[in-house]
Symmetry: C2
Subunit: 147 residues, 2 copies
């Protein structure tokens, strides 16, 4: 069977991201695949509609989130020697934009962490489910340990 | 990172199962992992409640489905040289029983086919989603071609 050519890590900066990164490293090596990493900064609308829409703060906060995300992504990418052009950071919806980035970059395997199903993690876990549901390529969900 | 030790193929006998089998073969070889294959015969209640419960026909039909499933599973397993003791066939609910079998057999990677999202396939595709949601181990969803 054909090797994977381009593997995309969907990083979420959780403390358990290490397991996802290591599995990606191992698969990229055994398949001699190109390795990219993406992170989607969730785009919440930030406004207080009881007053005026707070556009300027909104934009400033988003810029700050994107800058902080880029820094974290760059540090993670460094551990796997992923070059800057293969680090993809966007503001948007994780479940939608991971799949879109995979499409646009001709990715044939997305590797995503899969959280447990309790409390806040139930929401986080749904990214893996949604990516699986919409992806046009293979998806490896790496089970992350429960806290 | 530690290799996968025991990989379980969740087979559904669709014509595209080949892609799932080949990926499983390749990963089992590169990880030197034990390879098992399972198929769950969906347990629909078969009864006509306007009359008496049709228990005997019910049991006969289920036996026939299980026998036919075992035969198909055995033929699939043969192509990957999976021994009889690593062929697991059960009557039940695919999304529940694949995860249970994986647990019971200390599987660390489940490989399942992932169908598109149109028509009847939307229902079939949900097995992969449900397995991902409930599995206590990694899950690789192999994208199957649209018909």
């Amino acid at each position: 069977m054909a090797n994977y050519q381009h593997i995309l890590i969907a990083a979420d900066f959780s403390e358990h991201n290490h397991a996802v990164m290591q599995r990606a490293k191992e698969l990229a090596a055994s398949h001699q695949a190109k390795l990219s990493i993406c992170h989607i900064v969730e785009d919440f609308p930030i406004a207080d509609f009881a007053y005026e829409p707070m556009i300027s703060i909104d934009i400033d906060m988003r810029d700050a989130l994107v800058d902080s995300g880029k820094k974290q992504l760059s540090e993670l990418a460094k551990t796997l020697a992923i070059s800057e052009q293969n680090q993809l950071l966007e503001l948007g919806s994780p479940s939608y934009d991971i799949v879109r980035l995979a499409d646009e970059n001709k990715v044939d395997l997305i590797i995503v962490g899969s959280h447990g199903r309790h409390g806040i993690k139930m929401l986080l876990g749904s990214t893996a489910n949604s990516v699986l549901h919409h992806a046009k390529c293979d998806v490896l969900a790496v089970k992350l340990p429960e806290e």
